[in-house]
Amino acid sequence: MNDGMMMASQPQIMESLCVAVAGQGGDGSLTLVTLIARALADYGYHIYESRNVASRIKGGHAAAFLRAGVDPVPAQGHDLDLLIAFDVEAIEILGPRVVENGVIIFDSSSEPCPMGGLKTGVEIIDVPFGRYAVRELRRDLYKNSLGYAVTCAILGLKGDLVQAKMREVYGRLPANVIAANLAAMETGFQIAGDFGYRGGRSRWQPRTLSPTPKHHMTGNEALAFGFLAAGGRFFAGYPITPATDIMEWLEKYLPDLGGVVIQAEDELASINMALGAAMTGTRTMTASSGPGIALMTEGISQAGSAELPVVIVNCQRAGPSTGMPTKPEQSDIGLMTQGANGDFPHVVLCPATPGECFEAGRLATDIAEIAQIPVFVALDQVVAQDRASFTLPHMGSLTINRGKRLAGPKGPGGPEYRRYQLTDDGISPWTIPGTPEGMSLVTGNERNEWGHVDTGPENRRRMMDKRARKLETISAMLPIAVNWGDASSDIGIIGVGMERGVMRDLTSLLARQNKSAAFHSPRTLWPVLPETLEFIAGKSRVFVIEHNREGQLFRLLGGALASRSHMTNITRYDGRAFSPEDLVRRLHEEGADL
């Protein structure tokens, strides 16, 4: 972004910008990123926000990141143009990521900025935040406002807009607090001025893009919204990072719609509460992360056997066991595709962007009810918690499909009603309790069409086959992969979830070197769709990129009979996302001709 022009020369036209704000966890000053993001969104920039926090209540290094671009932003990215560092640790950890001629705003209240490890030409702007902090005010807010003003001056953002955004974000605070923060901003502008950023001089100059209304949500929030918009009215969950946001978001909106959000005593209760609600015909979801999903597996198997619709969200974090709760991983692929006892039809969707999360929440709810099966939505911490701008679909265009639910007030009609009726498509019509002539027995035991236990071999085969047919029936509804790049390339690159954005950035990086590959990012993890096997078969080398050590996606594809002989696995399990540069290096190490 920065081509080496110093501030005396013309400002850099802002095509994209990466900012980090870092300090000790629990320091509210990280919301500074939200202020900058909103200001840039007003210019029409696409934005992408993420956080890196220690799993401690307070304290520990924490950082918030923002990447803005004139085009949709696919991932957080690695390099930083601007770093706002509230302590030395922030410089030590993030300083080396600041590009040549980038800018660091440093809180010099207690010590000077360490210069070791920084690239050449990095400009340090010392701001003794501590000295300006006013005791009677919330210190974190004050730091925000000061830092915000300095940043906006450097970025060349218009003063009136900058102020308006601050008022918007602080809207609900008392007038005296707002006034003090406006004063803090004035101080910030003066400090920037002392460094030469005054009188219209700035390091960057924002472009004025045509701002279209954009929604800004995390994957978790968008998924919860998709579920709600699909008629989801019951959610049971137990808090766990990084899935808790789903419960919190739904708590805000579902009760007003006549729905229920209940915090269960554990995940065994969550999934079974969800099944109880599903019995009544309520569209139902639960969400957790690996440890909780492990507890739920018996219930998921029950849904498969009893033929109850339920959506289960797994916001994957680094395992095994308690692992690294705030770090991303994709190591529950085995758990979700093959993890529960017995075999039964189920689906695992794997959206990669907030827009896809909305759609996955909606679609999973429909598929679950149509096929009367459990449907997983697999996220990873990055997809779950990073926040990006996108445009939600028009709410008036949404529809739902309730499948073979028999809704008549008296019952199904006809001479007979068998809950587990054998059908060609495997799906039995169903009624809900309260229907006078639709009485049923629902059970996880093997049973005959009436719901009575039957372990005879003939019945067993018929019932297993009936349930299995359901997957075939809904196969056309399963979301297909996103493909891009050079379809004719010999080299194929596959990845899901958090890998998608990095693969997009990799595409741009390769394009700058006049290189390309074919990219394939499935949106259905289970069942493995034929398109993925065809993609693999059509390439001479295929790289499967994923976040776990064992290569769970690689094995899944191999298990689905993709030829392993020309597939190579590129894995990472240190809790950090790939950068496109990492991927290029790893691909070269594996002998990729790229």
């Binding site: 800004h216 719609l257 229920v260 065994l268 209760a269 109880g276 739902i400 199904p412 001479p415 059970t443």
Partner: protein, 286 residues
Amino acid sequence: MTLTFKPKAPIWCAGCGHFGVHTALTHALKAAHVPAHEALIIAGIGCSGSIQNNLNAYGYHALHGRVLPTATGAALANPNLLVIGAGGDGDGYAIGGGHLLHSFKRNPSLVYIVMNNGVYGLTKGQNSPTAGAALTNGEAPLDAVQLGLSVSGSTFIARGFVGWWDQLATLIGEGIQHARAHCGFAFIEAISPCVTYNDTYPEWDGKLADISRDEAYDPTDRVQAMSRVMRLSEQGKLAVGKILHTTGSTLDQRHNVSAQRAPALQDVLPANNVSTYEAIARDHLV
């Protein structure tokens, strides 16, 4: 009239206590005039967990130990239903024990009947949490009635004996009224001996103390209830009768659901919710 499943005859061993529970429950449902299609029986896993197959009601066979969360989900999602959980003491006090504690606390409007035989019937005779000290080398048995009394949110606690089935039917009937009136969680333990693995019929004679015979006993007084139950227990006796019957905040009230405002019966067609959904979308604009 559409033909649906026909309830089956119970498959328990001749003389099994669970027959008495079945009779009492059938009787109570009839006496309370609960339409068959408005009752949902959620059973656990065990010999006791087949009772739903033998009743004229909607039936759901839950997982081992998960009767209560399942019943809680169903009762919250559709308060028009009478939800009755039923299962064994292994199901309810061992593998599902944690849920019992939280059900007393939450007070969901549903009935829960535990068939206590001090043994795991279906898996052929292992000790359950209520097995007497004689069987467990001195480990004291769990008393779910005392447990329930100790949780201040509990509202209805009773114990019956299948040998006194008419009283048991009355207790279940009162529990049904409690749940149907949306007053909360009606917990009824039925002493229901397993004649095959732990035939305690002879033992109960003289060991059960029917507190309902004591006119001075006041089931709205939790402290009195607790002290009576504990005193009897010290004497090697179990209290039978309606032990606690009081009022308290219910789960359905707290979630603002009711027969008229049931999640299961909401109009969820997106076309009829567009303005609400648009308002939510607006909350997320930048």
